[in-house]
């Protein structure tokens, strides 16, 4: 990550692209004035989209993960457009799945079609995920990047103190209290609330990564050249933390799912009739655990949630490979790391707060 070019290996094959987002090596750079605007854009496009795309496609985990995510997105857009929302008594009560193809997943205790209910719950969930993940990632990146770049300064200390405090405040209890107090109904707002202090861990990770990058030569070079802080941060640093940002975006998304479903399940958020967590709650209180005739009511949303989380995580795992060639470095001699001090923070797989869930 500290060199201007890398060999990205994939099963031994060198794909040989320029490093992502880093076009500032003093030696390799083609003078920008010699390229036409169109060619520059073309270059960028290749670098940022085509090449990673190809690598993505080559890794089965990214492929499968992306497919799953795409499925849900389709469900939440096309699916909603194609099907009618389900009403009470559309179907006989507690119809079992795979009995009647008009209601493939069966129905709940009030005769609502489970498949359509699941589909129509998707947009709300996608909105929450988007809101929460974007908020978390953006906020964490901003704080982490600035803090890392200005490490040692007063700004850094203040920001890190804030971050530590946010990290220490227990997440789920805080979320519950805020949710009960504010009774949010907008999906965007809920999405942000359920991960309200999740950004702290991410910010720390990003900060340490930035610390690593900060000492890279190309950053030195930029500084020597007199480029503004803002320019350095956006052009040098952020692109190099992209992998972490990306993976953490996915983690945040997963956290949004877990936390929001948990809260809906407990009835702590205002009820939305088409919602996976609420479906779980209804199934649970409707005795899904006690009798097979209602078990599907609980299982359908549970499976839905697990599959989406699975897709997200798998995708993150797959992309990690692209971004971090050192994972494959057992076989290929990769670049050396000069920053042994901060090495402890440059984890190959930034984990975020997956352990145990909040």
């Amino acid at each position: 990550m500290t060199e201007s070019t890398r060999d990205v290996t994939d099963g031994g094959e060198t794909v040989g692209i320029e490093s992502l987002g880093n076009d500032r090596s003093p030696f390799d750079q083609v003078s920008e004035t010699t390229l036409s605007r169109k060619e520059r854009l073309q270059q960028k496009y290749d670098r940022l989209i085509v090449a990673p795309g190809r690598i993505l496609w080559s890794d089965w985990r990214a492929r499968v993960g992306a497919a799953i995510i795409l499925l849900y997105v389709l469900m939440g857009t096309v699916g909603v457009w194609l099907t009618e929302p389900t009403q009470l008594n559309d179907a006989p009560r507690l119809l079992l799945p795979f009995q009647d193809w008009a209601h493939p997943l069966g129905s709940d205790g009030n005769g609502r079609d489970l498949l359509r209910l699941t589909i129509h719950a998707t947009p709300h969930m996608l909105q929450m995920i988007l809101a929460g993940a974007v908020f978390t990632t953006a906020f964490a990146t901003a704080i982490g990047a600035v803090s890392g770049y200005l490490a040692g300064s007063a700004t850094d200390r203040i920001l890190m103190t804030m971050t530590d405090i946010a990290m220490t405040i227990p997440g789920l209890p805080l979320v519950i209290i805020v949710a009960v107090a504010l009774e949010p109904e907008s999906a965007w707002l809920i999405g942000i609330i359920v991960v309200i202090n999740y950004w702290a861990g991410l910010a720390r990770t990003i900060r340490s990564q930035v610390l690593t990058i900060r000492r890279a030569e190309y950053v030195e070079a930029s500084k020597t050249l007199g480029l503004s802080t803002r320019s350095i941060v956006t052009k040098d640093i952020i692109p190099n933390v992209m992998p972490y940002i990306f993976v953490n975006f996915v983690n945040a998304a997963r956290q949004v799912i877990f936390a929001s479903v948990g809260l809906y399940f407990l009835g702590l958020l205002p009820r939305v009739s088409a919602n996976w967590g609420v479906m779980m709650q209804d199934g649970y209180t409707g005795g899904a655990l006690l009798t097979w005739s209602a078990a599907h009511w609980l299982l359908v949303p549970m499976v839905t949630i697990v599959v989406l989380s699975f897709g997200l995580i798998l995708f993150a795992q797959g992309t990690d490979r692209i971004f971090n060639p050192r994972v494959r470095a057992r076989h290929a001699k990769s670049t050396s790391d000069e920053n042994t001090d901060d090495e402890e923070e440059s984890t190959a797989t930034p984990v975020g707060a997956i352990g145990g869930g909040r």
């Binding site: 009470l88 649970y284 006690l290 009798t291 097979w292 005739s293 209602a294």
Partner: protein, 606 residues
């Protein structure tokens, strides 16, 4: 008549309240196991067990459920925290029991009761003993009644001063009522809900203080506060089982030999196991951990999956779901709007969705309970046809539209609005943990929506629900519509019209101009009307006429719209126990696990 007879003092809602009557989702707890595939049979015929074969007292425990942490439980009836509703029924001696099917009182601590004019006489049962050995005397009974009068409970509507309660001899208490025209069915049920639960050794000082403070509201309030904080360390009861031990999971009571019923009780322990939600209760019954439950809302699928030996007892609750309108809202204060909504709401569909097996549709909204047994028809007599039914089994768009249009409303862009263009408010607030109410709300909203009201369901957690209800911060809200313990319309119509929940929280006026059963409109003074109803005990015809009159008022005015009347479900396990079948008359006494053993209808049977 007396200063105490205000809207505030009339009987309020059921002591069996939402929490267990509806499905409480709230705390998620443990999973359940599969039941057998057999049906939980209700038993075709009603039958009672014969009685134990021998005199052995088995070292067996009958386990029931409690929602509190047993180690925190306390038994002071005036201390509202850490209280279990059913425990007093087995630890103490209820004055009387009520059979909800026959609607007759059953003797308890009070063996005999009589009302003659304004003099009531209660005879105490022989042989009751406190668990420390002291006899229960008429003084204990009198003290309990006196404290109720001084503290301003419902009894206060009938008796003015504690001096009106006198002890005649060791087992007789005389009460001097403040009117000579109360009906038996109006007065005695009020007492029946009390227990002999204030032994002098624990409460002697409080009782003295109360008597001293009587008449001075502030002084009484001060004693009341102290009393509310008191939790006796060693709970002293007088029922068939005495307090043994309590920890975080289990409360254990042991058989008290000197209780008059002890000879039909052949098991050593009565236990209460802590539960967090209904799933755990169902679980416990299926798995054999729980032998007798309190009232617990149970969906049909789960009942069907219960093992064969489990008996389900359905007891009419004399209570149910109603749609409460906020009369502080100008549009909802218009009778036409409420009537239109009544036509649009398909009550049958609501009942089918919320309580398919245990609910009855309220056929004629009138504040009279008994939709299971046909009791309303008796009160209606031959005037039933004059009441509006508001299409109980369908969503009658035509009638609703007519009423609205006649009242000046119109449909704009698919939504009904008033003259100024304001849409008719239709936000329905429901407590989130009551799953069957949420189902009902979904149905109602769908009904209203399809007609053209901008309806939506707003769920709130319990604290928020009550908070907003009390503050009047709602448009439409679900709540109960009857008293829930007593069948007489004085209590139920009284609740619906006069209770603080209606008068203060829903802002229903104390005086209202409304159509009269005999034609035309007139002004009703609600409090006065209810008061009169209480005093028609000597004149059955006048009583019936009054009930019809008030019924009509409710029927036309719809201060709240009664939708459903429900039955409570109680389960008894026949595994290692002999229990009556679910349909027996004798089992219709709330609540069976605490009543039936005393009669020898539940006993250990291996």
């Amino acid at each position: 008549m007396t200063a105490n007879e205000t809207a505030a003092n009339t009987t309020e809602a059921s002591r069996r309240w939402f929490l267990r009557l509806s499905g409480v989702a709230g705390a998620t707890a443990l999973a359940g196991c599969f039941g057998d595939d057999n049906d939980g049979d209700n038993g075709g015929e009603a039958s009672l067990p014969d009685g134990p074969d021998d005199d052995t007292v088995y070292d067996q425990a009958f386990t029931s459920d409690t929602w509190s942490l047993p180690q925190e439980l306390q038994v002071n009836p005036h201390n509202p925290t850490n209280h279990d509703d059913e425990l007093p029924q087995i630890l103490f001696e209820p004055l009387m029991w009520m059979n909800n099917r026959t609607q007759e009182l059953v003797p308890g601590a009070v063996q005999d009761w009589e009302l003659d004019g304004d003099a009531a006489e209660l005879t105490l049962r022989d042989g009751l003993v406190w668990h420390d050995g002291e006899s229960v005397t008429a003084d204990d009974l009198a003290n309990k009644l006196r404290s109720e009068v001084i503290l301003g409970a419902t009894l206060n509507d009938f008796i003015d001063h504690s001096d009106d309660i006198t002890v005649v001899d060791d087992s007789t208490v005389e009460l001097s009522l403040n009117r000579d025209s109360f009906a038996d069915e109006v007065f005695f049920p009020v007492i029946s809900q009390l227990n002999i639960d204030m032994p002098e050794s624990n409460y002697g000082d409080f009782l003295d203080d109360l008597q001293d403070a009587e008449g001075d509201e502030e002084a009484v309030g001060a004693v009341e506060q102290e009393l509310a904080d008191f939790a006796p360390e060693d709970p002293l009861g007088c029922g068939p089982f005495e307090w043994e031990s309590a920890d975080e999971r289990l409360l254990v009571l042991t058989r008290f030999e000197d209780h008059p019923d002890a000879d039909v009780i052949n098991f050593e322990r009565f236990e209460f196991q802590q539960v967090n939600d209904n799933n755990q209760i169902w679980q416990g019954v299926q798995g054999g951990d729980i032998d007798g439950t309190g009232p617990v809302f149970t969906p049909p699928e789960i009942v069907d999956d219960m093992p064969d030996h489990v008996e389900e007892i359905q007891i009419p609750a004399m209570w149910g779901l109603s749609v409460v309108f906020n009369h502080a809202n100008d549009i909802l204060a218009d009778r036409a709007v409420r009537q239109a909504m009544a036509y649009v709401i398909n009550r049958e569909q609501v009942v089918t969705n919320m309580t398919p097996r245990t609910g009855a549709v309220v056929e004629v909204p009138s504040g009279i309970t008994g939709n299971f047994t046909g009791a309303p028809d008796e009160w209606f007599g031959d005037r039933k046809g004059e009441f509006d039914q508001y299409a109980p089994s369908e969503s009658d768009h035509e009638s609703a539209a007519t009423i609205l249009e006649d009242a000046g409303y119109e449909k704009q862009d698919g939504i009904w609005v008033d003259e100024s263009g304001t849409p008719i408010p239709a936000q329905i607030k429901v407590p989130a943990p009551y799953s069957d109410w949420v189902d009902a709300a979904d149905t109602v909203v769908q009904n209203l929506d399809n007609f053209g009201f901008a309806a939506e369901v707003l769920t709130r957690d319990e604290g928020a629900y009550w908070g907003e209800y009390v503050e009047g911060d709602f448009q439409i809200l679900f709540s109960g519509w009857a008293d829930g313990t007593v069948p007489h319309p004085y209590f139920n119509q009284g609740f619906l019209l006069n209770d603080a929940q209606n008068q203060e929280w829903a802002s229903y006026p104390a005086e209202v101009e409304a159509p009269s059963l005999d034609g035309g409109t007139e002004t009703y003074d609600i409090q006065e009307e209810i008061r009169e109803l209480a005093g028609l005990g000597n004149d059955a015809d006048a009583e019936q006429a009054k009930v019809q009159r008030l019924g009509y008022l409710i029927n036309q005015e719809l201060p709240r719209l009664p939708v459903q009347e429900k039955s409570d479900q109680v389960f008894l396990s026949g595994d290692e126990w002999a229990v009556p079948t679910g349909d027996s008359d004798e089992a219709q006494v709330p609540w069976p696990p605490y009543y039936l053993p005393r009669e020898g209808y539940v006993y250990a049977d291996n």
